[in-house]
């Protein structure tokens, strides 16, 4: 298995552990998007904000591939649909039902960033970002895209007790939400794997997309252009230094 390095040209990282309630991200979202969004749920908000922050100030090719990942997905909209049916014995609201599909988040990103290339949402539990990176790398290697925007997004059901119960988390686990993105392009250079120990960050323990959070927080704290992603085995990607 051989694949080229995907050089990081932009990165965005947002992560927030719940303390009482999550802060509004309306202003931060509005600062990076062309449109004013209504009737979108928190999952779509987080997706749009992260993708737009990453892509800001960078020219995206129209064939840029979009690869969204999540371990838990749009869980709040799912719970709203379930509550309508099973708790309230009524029909679900149409937009809540539509938002249960992760594809809705991809739709809003593609529209906001005017993307016309490959676009998928993919998951693999707590390794969902790695699955998305693999799909992105396959499309780059196949030559069907020239640039890829890869992200991981997690949201929480509130109150936190309900989130923990749904995901069978212990009562002492602090729940968190986040959005983590990388804009990547093929690079012919070789890379040196960044040692896992440099990426370990206990802040993200227990968080479904901790692989994405560790990568994007690390790269965001350094010169992003000196890093890339490369596959080192079937379905597995590692961060490499291009220095």
């Amino acid at each position: 298995m051989r694949a080229r390095v995907m050089r990081c040209t932009a990165v965005s990282h947002y992560f927030h552990r719940l303390e009482g309630e999550f802060p509004s991200i309306d202003g931060r979202l509005a600062a990076v998007t062309r449109e004013r969004y209504r009737r979108i749920d928190r999952f779509v908000q987080l997706t749009l904000m992260g993708a737009a922050e990453c892509a800001r100030k960078h020219a995206l090719s129209r064939d840029c591939g979009l690869y969204l990942s999540s371990g838990v997905g749009p869980i709040t909209s799912n719970v709203l649909v379930q509550d309508a049916i099973h708790r309230d014995s009524r029909m679900p609201m149409p937009f809540s039902f539509v938002n249960t599909l992760g594809s809705s988040a991809c739709y809003h990103v593609a529209k906001e960033l005017d993307l016309a290339g490959e676009a998928v949402m993919v998951a693999r539990g707590s390794a969902s970002f790695s699955a998305a990176l693999t799909c992105a790398q396959a499309d780059l290697e196949s030559g069907i895209v020239s640039q890829v925007l890869v992200g991981a997004v997690e949201e929480c059901v509130l109150p936190a007790e309900r989130h923990r119960a749904l995901l069978r988390m212990g009562a002492d686990v602090t729940v968190a939400e986040g959005t983590h993105w990388m804009l990547l392009e093929p690079d012919e250079r070789e890379g040196v794997a960044v040692h896992d120990a440099r990426l370990v960050n206990a802040d993200f323990d227990g968080y479904e997309s901790r692989d994405a959070a560790r990568l994007t927080s690390f790269v965001a704290g350094h010169d992003k252009t000196q890093f890339g992603i490369v596959m080192n085995g079937p379905g597995k990607s590692v961060l490499v230094s291009l220095e």
Partner: protein, 390 residues
């Protein structure tokens, strides 16, 4: 896909090596194909009486299986289709254990009563988070096969399993994998029925491209295919090309002028070196909803000056949502293997605005290239080109 082959100098084809299917046509690929030749399938009525005013929605359910709310039903259906595909593929134990798994389903989270409908209670006992559908499905398949391969779960609405097929084929073509298992899963459940009913998209009868079409009829089904690397001239059904894009016209529908999907089809044809005139037939998405069929008809006229025969399969299976990519691929593979291009039950009267006349009766299908369309919420469009070689 050929561009990758050109770069590497190696030209592996990707072939459908094994198939398994449980859908409204029956259980087992051959049983499904035999039933397909007998004409339309009648959906069963499902009356919902606990969500306000009672209503009845037709559902294309898998026949001869436990009732829709029976515990363990989902596991039985998933295991049955996977077992059939694996058996037909004749892979070794070692190959089965290492198979990468590509799941396609529209459900990210399960209906809460899916603990009865969609999920075997026993899976909860081995530590799965019951709210996450794709993790459940992955676990069911991996447990059945003793498999520890990489997994990818695609969530792109009604294009989910079609995209799973394309990604798996792409990785095989790159030489990353020798084989892959792709599974599409969509099972009848209350949340899906209620959700589509709330959108007022459900009709009483499925009539693809018909002047009197009024909407979709949901179906359930599990399809599984084993894809393998093969030489370009191997006999069987090859996954030749494909691609996806997003139409940002509306979150619940593509642009009825067909421009975005036409761009996708032309892009896929161009990069695979296939001329539109080489396409021998089209398997339409053909949901029977007014706007989907209108947009799809526009696409066909934009891309094909002389459209080849068009069929739609949902009046046999219902709309199996995220699973329709694999399910309809399998039905087409079985039909083409037998030299048959399927009829389109439900179509009676031409819609002059569409000017599409899908196949009224089954016809002879030769070897050649066939185009398969899949569209979904979120503007997701997927096109797949397959080649039958005998």
């Amino acid at each position: 896909m050929p561009e990758a082959s050109a770069k590497s100098g190696v030209k592996p084809g990707v072939i459908v090596r094994g198939m398994g299917l449980s859908c409204a046509l029956g259980v087992g690929v051959e049983a499904c194909f035999t039933r397909l030749q007998q004409g339309a399938v009648t959906p069963i009525p499902w009356t919902i009486s606990n969500l306000g005013d009672a209503f009845t929605a037709p559902v294309y359910a898998v026949p001869g299986t436990p009732p829709l709310d029976m515990p363990g039903r989902a596991v039985a259906l998933i295991e049955g289709a996977v077992r059939e595909a694996i058996s037909a593929s004749a892979l070794t134990h070692a190959e089965i254990a290492a198979l990468p798994l590509f799941i396609g389903t529209s459900a990210f989270s399960l209906d809460r009563d899916a603990t009865r409908v969609n999920v075997d209670e026993s899976t909860a006992a081995i530590g799965v988070q019951p709210v996450i559908a794709h993790q459940q499905i992955t676990l069911i398949v991996q447990r059945l096969l003793g498999n520890s391969g990489q997994s990818f779960a695609f969530q792109t609405a009604c294009t989910s399993s079609a995209n799973a097929v394309l990604s798996a084929a792409r990785m095989i073509e790159l030489g990353w994998y020798e084989h892959a298992l792709v599974v599409g899963v969509e099972l009848a459940n209350l949340a899906t029925i209620a959700g589509f009913s709330s959108l007022q998209l459900i009709a009483t009868e499925l009539k693809p491209f018909d002047r009197n079409r009024q909407g979709i009829v949901l179906g359930e089904g599990v399809g599984a295919v084993v894809l393998s690397a093969a030489s370009r001239d191997a006999t069987g059904l090859h996954i030749r090309a494909g691609g996806t894009n997003i139409d940002s016209y509306r979150v619940t529908m593509s642009n009825p002028d067909g421009v975005t999907i036409a761009e996708l089809q032309q892009r896929v044809l161009k990069r695979s070196g296939i001329d539109a005139s080489e396409i021998a037939g089209i398997k339409a998405h053909g949901t029977g909803s007014p706007m989907n069929d209108s947009g799809e008809a526009a696409v066909i006229h934009r891309v094909f000056p002389k459209p080849p025969p068009v069929c739609a399969l949902k009046s046999y299976l219902g709309h199996t949502l995220g699973a329709c990519g694999v399910n309809e691929l399998i039905v087409m593979a079985a039909a083409l293997r037998a030299g048959v291009f399927p009829a389109t039950p439900g179509f009676d009267e031409i819609d002059p605005a569409l000017n599409i006349v899908p196949t009224r009766v089954a016809s002879v299908a030769g070897d050649g290239l066939y185009l398969l369309n899949y569209f979904g919420f979120g503007g997701h469009n997927t096109v797949m080109i397959v080649e039958q070689r005998s």
